[in-house]
Symmetry: C2
């Protein structure tokens, strides 16, 4: 029986720079627009929300950005993360494909989110910010930011989507253990929350609403800034440590990936793995197919519109050119809370428009079938989000079985499912539904995209 093959880097081989894909793109993505003027936003427009260092990273054209020493010191708690070859899964699938997975569940909160939470907390602390606000759905991002804020002595206040706050208390308890304050969203703490509650007192919330609340609080207080866990350029920039490490690990494995597969909600895990490989592809040094996988219940890339839209429900953010289902779209409750966002990173949306990446939507039950199969062969129970990528990777490997191709597949296993076990329970008991987005709901969702001034 073949054992797991693990490719570890020593700490001396840990990347010391993040990679900025913007420096290498043949065509620049459309800029974010000011919703009042319709003109491109400037650094000053973002200053009330983010510290100067992060605003600069959001807009920089530099190819590489140095990772500060104190951030590297915290990264070392779990980085470099392992790359595994999934030999047991390959055998179970009887496929000639080689399946590799880069595993981010080794972080203290069990996901890839601390890769950006730590630098965000660090830069804010450096600039004297006393409090960070943010939103969270199921809670992966909120717990990552709570951990990072505890590390750098910054207060952390989280608006958590009401449905998750009520039904999934473990992540909230994790945030509180790290010292964060957590509000169910919509909350009575903010104007945005009160407006929603006045109209829908029983609202179970959405990421878009929670973003509105966190942004409003940050803008209202000079010692407070806002932190976002996905979508924006600087967030994806920080996540590129994943791909940079994976490139070095593939050198150890003496292989080159033919197919990269990652799940996409806001795009941070996918971009983090894919961007360094896309750099290599653009430079002609390798030629992997790069595939984004999203839930059929929230099919932003495959069925959304590429248009300017708000990042939040209340319309407080700049207008972003992205694949969107409409800023007031509330996806059906699926278990992959991290993929339930109405929009997509503008940078990843641009790559899709440029034909540099592919996209695929997967039904919920297929993801959990893949997750159970992976758990029983490879031993790690994947979070519902990366189970989407595993489902697509298994499809690819089964096509290789039929064709006889020895493709090398790399997938991003961005977290474990220790806090998502009730979702596996629902799947195993047969109580799970697929919840694919209907044509009617899609048409309705896209009806009121904002006009660009």
């Amino acid at each position: 029986m073949p054992g797991q093959t693990k490719y570890l880097l020593d700490e001396g081989s840990m990347p010391t720079q993040w990679y900025n894909l913007l420096a290498d793109l043949p065509v620049a993505p459309p800029p974010p627009l000011h919703p009042g003027t319709g003109g491109p936003i400037a650094s000053d427009d973002l200053a009330p929300l983010f510290p100067r260092a992060l605003v600069a990273q959001e807009m920089t054209g530099e190819r590489h950005v140095d990772i500060p020493g104190p951030v590297l010191d915290v990264y070392r708690l779990w980085r470099p993360s392992p790359l595994f070859r999934a030999r047991r899964l390959e055998r179970a699938l009887d496929t000639p494909a080689h399946i590799y997975y880069k595993y981010e569940g080794v972080s203290p909160v069990g996901s890839h989110k601390p890769n950006t939470a730590v630098p965000q907390a660090y830069y804010n602390a450096e600039e004297g910010v006393r409090r960070l606000t943010t939103e969270t759905g199921a809670g992966q991002w909120g717990s990552a930011l709570a951990f990072a804020c505890a590390t750098f002595g910054v207060d952390c206040e989280v608006w958590q989507v009401r449905a998750s706050y009520d039904q999934k208390p473990y992540r909230r308890l994790m945030m509180e253990t790290y010292g964060a304050a957590v509000h169910p969203s919509p909350s009575k703490v903010t104007e945005a929350g009160r407006a929603i509650l006045a109209e829908s007192p029983e609202s179970t919330g959405s990421l878009g609403i929670a973003i509105s609340e966190a942004v409003e609080q940050a803008a209202a207080d000079d010692g407070t800034r806002y932190a976002l866990g996905s979508v924006l350029n600087h967030v994806l920039l920080h996540q590129t440590v994943i791909g940079e490490e994976a490139l070095r690990q593939f050198e150890l494995a003496e292989e080159t990936p033919d197919v990269l597969v990652g799940c996409t909600g806001g795009g941070s895990n996918f971009g983090g793995l894919a961007f360094p490989f896309l750099r290599e592809k653009l430079a002609g040094r390798m030629s992997p197919v790069i595939r984004a996988v999203e839930p059929a219940a929230c099919p932003t890339l495959t069925r959304g519109r590429y248009a300017y839209d708000f990042g939040d429900t209340a319309g407080l953010t700049p207008l972003l050119k992205m694949h969107t289902l409409g800023h007031d779209f509330v996806p059906d409750p699926i278990h992959a809370g991290g993929l339930r966002y109405h929009g997509m990173s503008p940078l990843i949306s641009h790559l899709y428009e440029q034909g540099l990446i592919e996209a695929q939507a997967v039904a919920q039950q297929d993801c959990f079938a893949a997750g159970v199969r992976f758990a029983r062969t490879e031993g790690i129970i994947p979070a519902p989000e990366p189970a989407h990528a595993l489902a697509a990777s298994i499809d690819e490997a089964l096509r290789c079985r039929d064709s006889g191709e020895e493709k090398v597949i790399l997938t991003a296993l961005c977290g474990h499912a220790h806090l998502d076990l009730p979702a596996y329970g629902a799947y195993l008991s047969g109580a799970m539904q697929d919840n694919a987005l209907s044509e009617e709901d899609l048409t309705r969702a896209l009806a009121d995209l904002p006009q660009v001034p």
Copy 2:
């Protein structure tokens, strides 16, 4: 701000042998006795319960036992595990002490238990066993065995203490995701369970009862064997990979521990870390104080009697000479489910009698205070069990602050708390009680120890 310092071994430095402390003890521990004859048990007495290879390991006097290749292949999924120096915690405590922790939460189930679950499943599979039965409390051991059985294609059937089965569904769902069948204990499936239910239909169960059920099922079917997650020599043997790795990591750190601190329930995590260091101590190569830490609600070493007792409630096991609170003692419900066992490993009990280790009991709230402090400085939320060892380690470090001693402290962080977050919630909300064992309850618990024939 100092960062975490991590001492990693490369895979080539992973131990390939387990260490058997029995080979080096100046005085041998008293043997297990047959409850019918009163004479020492023989290999044949254990054959209905365990495969031959494990019976041999239980009784061997060999100093080292080779780790089979297929076991090493699975260990590589998470081993070698990291050793960290807790520099942030040291700074928060303002102590000159150096605090190190060996972290086993990197395993797929988040604890040290797979170190023995994997070889147990392997040896059973090798000898043609089709099904393994076991008991579990909170579920750490059951989920480790379910993972290991999935890996080697053995069926797994778990009796889980009813209170945990009902109140803590996450671990049960983890076992089921790995494909195990889980019964609440006491169950109607076994004679032992039916007898308890006839007397106490509302029984919430205990580890002792669950062991009776699992043992009964294994003894009744030729293709079924039993697996135990702690207490026995072969279990502690497998866990010595922890200490062997830690010894090599201390060479990298160029330090020698002055104090070793581990939590004890049945003793597997403590023994796993401590035995290789005790070997070095017995050989005169170092001289650490070695300290076992147990809950004040279940103070086996510090307040139990050193006597022959059964390992289970129904009296199906051999008689073991150990520190015990009585085989029908049911500890108050504390959150460290892994430490709620009436007895203690006979080997560790013997070390305590011989003066080779110390013991200390800690109140529940002090453990959670230590756990929160650790989470907010070091970033990892410790499981309630190792939080006991952290509380004692912090005490030691604070004594060093007062005395100015630069002691080197090593503690066993045997798991994370992702599935124990409600316990942290109870602590943070002020709802937690200490539940120390009263004198009256102790006297009652010790009243009916069995007579040795």
